[in-house]
C-alpha cells in the first residue's frame, strides 16, 4: 500500500459534534488565584492557538499557584492517512498453539533473559512478562514449557545481563525500564545497545525494550528490535520472539508476521 493511492481522511477533535474541535485541558500557573489569573489562563490558551476559550474551573492549588480546567476549540486538522507509525502486529497464537509450534518448528526451548538494568529497581514490568503468574490472566514466559526464561531482577548492570545471556546462548534479551526521570531510561537503553554491540550480540539476539514510557518507535530508534509499552501481555512478547527466532533460522521471511516494519 502506498500513500499516493490513499484518500485523505481529515480529522479534528470531537467534543459533542463532528469536527467541533473541542478539547479539554488542565494546567497550573504560578500565580495567586484571581480574576487576573483567570484572564492569564485564557490568554495562555489563545496563544496555544485555541479559540472559544472557556475557563471552567479556577482553583487555588496553593498560595501562589492556581489550577485551571479549560475547554476550548482547536482549528487544527489532520490527514489521518498521512500518518505512518510502525506497529507490532502479530498473528497471535494461543498458549498451547505457540508451545506446539515451537516444538515442531524450532524443536528446542527458546531461551530468554530479562532484567531491569541500570539503577532501576522497579521490576513490576519484567515480572509481569517473565514470571510464572504473568499479567491479567495471561501466563508469563516462565510458565511456557517451550520457553526457558531467566528473570535477573532489578539493578542489573547491562554488561552482566548480556554476559549471562551469552553464556546460555539466549535467543532474546528483555530490558525493562520503568524510571524515566530526566530520560534516564533512554540513556541507559543506549548504553545497553552500545554494550550489546561491544559483546557482539547486536543483530544476533533479539533485543527488546519494555516499559510504561516505551513504544515501538522509540525502541527502534534506540537500536532495539522492538519495543513494548503499557498493556503488553506476555503472550505478545512470546509470539514476537518465536517469529524472530524463525526469521533468524531462515525459516520465515522478515515481516511475515508483522507489518509496518521500520523504514
Amino acid at each position: 500500500m502506498t500513500t499516493s493511492t490513499k484518500e485523505k481522511q481529515l480529522i479534528r477533535a470531537y467534543g459533542d459534534r463532528r469536527d467541533d474541535g473541542i478539547i479539554q485541558l488542565s494546567f497550573t500557573l504560578p500565580v495567586t488565584a484571581s480574576e487576573k489569573a483567570k484572564e492569564a489562563a485564557k490568554l495562555y490558551c489563545q496563544k496555544l492557538g485555541l479559540t472559544d476559550v472557556k475557563v471552567a474551573a479556577i482553583e487555588r492549588a496553593a498560595e501562589h499557584y492556581t489550577f485551571f480546567v479549560v475547554y476550548a476549540r482547536s482549528g487544527v486538522v489532520l490527514d489521518y492517512n498521512e500518518i505512518d507509525t510502525p506497529e507490532i502486529v502479530i498473528k497471535k497464537k494461543s498458549y498451547d498453539e505457540l508451545n506446539a509450534f515451537i516444538e515442531e518448528e524450532i524443536a528446542r526451548r527458546v531461551v530468554v533473559f530479562g532484567a531491569c538494568t541500570g539503577t532501576d529497581t522497579h521490576t513490576v514490568g519484567i515480572d509481569a512478562i517473565l514470571n510464572m503468574k504473568g499479567f491479567s490472566g495471561d501466563y508469563g514466559l516462565e510458565r511456557y514449557p517451550w520457553f526457558e526464561a531467566f528473570n535477573l531482577g532489578s539493578q542489573v548492570p547491562n554488561a552482566e545481563l548480556i554476559r549471562r545471556a551469552k553464556e546460555k546462548n539466549a535467543d532474546a534479551i528483555l530490558v525493562s525500564q520503568v524510571v524515566t526521570q530526566r530520560d534516564v531510561h533512554k540513556e541507559n537503553s543506549r548504553a545497553f545497545i552500545d554494550e550489546a554491540k561491544k559483546q557482539g550480540v547486536h543483530g544476533k539476539m533479539t533485543l527488546l525494550l519494555g516499559g510504561p514510557r516505551v513504544d515501538h518507535k522509540l525502541a527502534l530508534e534506540l537500536g532495539f528490535d522492538a519495543g513494548f509499552g503499557p498493556g503488553t501481555k506476555p503472550s505478545d512478547v512470546a509470539n514476537f520472539i518465536v517469529h524472530q527466532v524463525l526469521q533468524r533460522m531462515g525459516k520465515e521471511a522478515q515481516g511475515a508476521n508483522y507489518e509496518g516494519a521500520p523504514t
Binding site: 488542565s26 499557584y65 489550577f67 515480572d127 539493578q155 524510571v179 530526566r182 534516564v184
Partner: protein
C-alpha cells in the same frame, strides 16, 4: 463498628506465633553488630562531615576499625581510646584513630578501661539527652499547632533538588497535606554510606542527607506556624544505612520514617542478617525519638497478587509488630502498611478492600496504620484513575486509617504534578468530610461476604505464621512466602558489614536505650 469477624483469642494466637517466629532472630541481633550501627554510634557522638575524597568521616573511621579487626569492641570504645590519646573533638578523634596502629595498640589497665567506659557512657548519656530535648521541641510545636484529625493525608515530593522540594512541600501543605514525604533518589538504599550536605541532583527522588532533613523540617516548621497546623515530615530508614538514617532523622526532628523489618531483604536484596540487626537499632532510635514507623507490607501486593497474597500482609504485620514492640516502639508508633491494590476489573473489589482494611483495623486497633492507594493497576486514563483513588479514600475513612497516602491520577506516567496533589487532596478531604463516622452507622453482617473473606484471609495468615514457626523465618523467606520474592540467609548485599561482637563490646547508646 468494623465488625469482629474473628475472636480475640485468635488474634492473641497470631501474636504468640509472631513472637515465637522472631525469637531466634533476636539471638543474631544480640550477638552481632554492623558497620552501619557503628557509624550511627559515631554520628551520635557528633562525628559529621566528609574526608577529602568525599567519603563520610564515619565511614573512614569504621572501615579503618574493621580493617584492623577491632570493630568487634564497638566504635564507642575506640572513640573513648581516641579521647584518652588526647583528642579534643570528634573530628580530632577520627584523625587520631585512622592514624593509630590499632592492630598493635596495647590494652589499657583494668582501671583505665573501666574509667574509659564511664566517661564515654556519660558523654553518650548527654547526647541522648540532647536528642530528647530536640524531640521535646518538636512535641511543643505539635501541641501549639495540633494536626487535623486522621486520616492524615500523606503526600510525596521528589524533584531531586531539596530546594525545589521545599517549594513543592510548602504548596502541598498549603493545599491541605498533613504529612510530607521526600522520596529518595533511586538506589540510595544500596549505598553503604549516607551522602553529605544539601543536594540538588537526584534520580527519581532526592538524596536523604542530614542537611536535607534539616532544610525541609525548618521549612515545614515555618509552614506549620503559618497554617497553624503542624505538618509532619517523613523519609526512608531502609537499605544499608537504616540506622544512620534513623539517627539523622531523629536528630533533625522528623516525625515519621518508613522502616520495615523485611523490606530490604525482599525488595532490595539486602542480606537478611544485616537487615535484622540494622532494623533493631534503627527502631530503638525511633522509639527514643517518638518517630512513627511505616512498614512496607503494601509492597508485597505490588509484586504478588493482592487478592491471592492478602494473608501475607496480615502475617507480616504481626511479625513487624513483634519486632517493633521488642525494640521499644509503642502501638501509637506503628504505621503498619497495607493498600488498596486488588485488580479493579474483578467483581466486588470494594467489598474485598473493605474486608481487608477492616481486618487490619481489627487486628491492630491501637496502631495508626498506613494506607496506600492503588499503584499496580493504575492506568494512564487519569479520569478513571481519579475515581479509583476516591474509593481508597472512602475505605480509609471507613476503617479509620491513621495515615493515608494519596493516590495521584497521573502517577502511571510521571511524578505527580502540582495540580495532581491539589486535586487528590480536594477529593480526599471531601470523602473524609462526607463519610466521617460511617463505621458507626453501618454494622457489617457477620455472615456476609466481607466477614467471610476476612475470616478466610486471617485463617491463611495463621497457616503462614504456623509454617514460619515450624520451619523458621529464614526458610519461609527462602520459599518466597512474602511478596513472591525468594532470598537466602547468606545471600544479598551487605553481609560483609556484619561483625560478631566481642565479649567486651561497648555501645553505650544501645545500653541506655535498652534500659541498662
Amino acid at each position: 463498628m468494623s465488625g469482629l469477624f474473628i475472636t480475640d483469642e485468635q488474634i492473641a494466637h497470631a501474636r504468640t506465633l509472631a513472637h515465637d517466629i522472631t525469637n531466634p532472630i533476636f539471638d543474631t541481633i544480640a550477638k552481632n553488630t554492623t558497620v552501619s550501627v557503628e557509624r550511627t554510634v559515631l554520628r551520635w557522638f557528633g562525628v559529621d562531615g566528609v574526608g577529602n575524597m568525599g567519603a563520610p568521616l564515619v565511614n573512614l573511621m569504621v572501615d579503618r576499625l574493621k580493617a584492623a579487626g577491632v570493630l568487634n569492641k564497638g566504635a564507642a570504645y575506640w572513640y573513648g581510646r581516641a579521647l584518652r590519646m588526647g583528642a579534643t573533638s570528634p573530628l580530632d578523634a577520627v584523625e587520631r584513630l585512622t592514624a593509630a596502629p590499632l592492630e598493635t595498640l596495647k590494652p589499657l589497665s583494668t582501671e583505665d578501661e573501666a574509667k574509659l567506659r564511664v566517661e564515654v557512657r556519660a558523654e553518650a548519656q548527654a547526647m541522648v539527652q540532647e536528642l530528647k530535648d530536640r524531640v521535646a521541641r518538636r512535641n511543643a510545636l505539635k501541641n501549639e499547632f495540633p494536626m487535623a484529625p486522621a486520616p492524615h493525608k500523606y503526600l510525596i515530593v521528589a524533584t531531586g533538588n531539596i530546594f525545589d522540594d521545599v517549594d513543592q512541600a510548602r504548596a502541598a501543605a498549603q493545599a491541605g497535606a498533613d504529612v510530607i514525604a521526600v522520596i529518595r533518589s533511586t538506589a540510595q538504599s544500596l549505598l553503604d554510606y549516607v551522602p553529605h550536605g544539601a543536594t540538588t541532583e537526584g534520580y527519581g527522588g532526592t538524596y536523604a542527607t542530614q542537611e536535607n532533613f534539616r532544610i525541609m523540617r525548618e521549612a515545614l516548621d515555618d509552614e506549620s506556624k503559618r497554617l497553624k497546623r503542624y505538618v509532619e515530615l517523613t523519609n526512608y530508614s531502609s537499605g544499608l544505612c537504616m540506622s544512620e538514617i534513623a539517627f539523622c532523622a531523629a536528630w533533625e526532628r522528623l516525625d515519621m520514617l518508613l522502616n520495615d523489618a523485611m523490606y530490604g531483604i525482599l525488595f532490595r536484596d539486602i542480606n537478611m542478617r544485616r537487615t535484622f540487626i540494622d532494623q533493631y537499632f534503627s527502631r530503638r532510635i525511633c522509639a527514643e525519638a517518638g518517630i512513627i514507623i511505616n512498614t512496607g507490607e503494601d509492597n508485597y501486593i505490588t509484586t504478588a497478587d493482592a487478592y491471592d497474597a492478602a494473608h501475607t500482609v496480615i502475617a507480616s504485620q504481626f511479625i513487624n509488630e513483634t519486632f517493633a514492640h521488642r525494640a521499644g516502639l509503642k502501638d501509637w508508633q506503628l504505621g503498619l502498611g497495607h493498600s488498596y491494590e486488588i485488580d479493579p476489573y474483578k467483581p466486588e473489589t470494594l467489598l474485598l478492600e473493605l474486608s481487608q482494611a477492616m481486618l487490619v483495623r481489627r487486628c491492630f486497633p491501637n496502631a495508626p496504620l498506613k494506607y496506600m492507594p492503588p499503584t499496580k493497576h493504575k492506568e494512564t486514563d487519569i479520569f478513571f484513575s481519579h475515581a479509583y483513588d476516591v474509593m481508597a479514600d472512602l475505605v480509609a475513612i471507613w476503617t479509620r486509617q491513621g495515615i493515608q497516602l494519596l493516590g495521584m491520577m497521573t502517577e502511571a506516567m510521571h511524578t505527580p504534578l502540582l495540580a495532581d496533589r491539589y486535586v487528590a487532596l480536594k477529593s480526599a478531604s471531601y470523602l473524609h468530610r462526607a463519610a466521617r463516622g460511617i463505621d458507626e452507622e453501618f454494622t457489617v453482617r457477620e455472615d456476609g461476604k466481607i466477614a467471610n473473606r476476612a475470616r478466610f484471609v486471617f485463617g491463611k495468615a495463621i497457616e503462614l505464621l504456623e509454617e514460619c514457626r515450624q520451619d523458621g523465618m529464614v526458610a519461609a523467606i527462602g520459599r518466597g512466602r512474602f511478596g513472591d520474592v525468594k532470598r537466602e540467609e547468606t545471600g544479598g548485599k551487605g553481609l560483609d558489614g556484619v561483625v560478631e561482637k566481642a565479649k567486651d563490646y561497648f555501645n553505650p547508646f544501645l545500653d541506655i536505650m535498652e534500659g541498662r
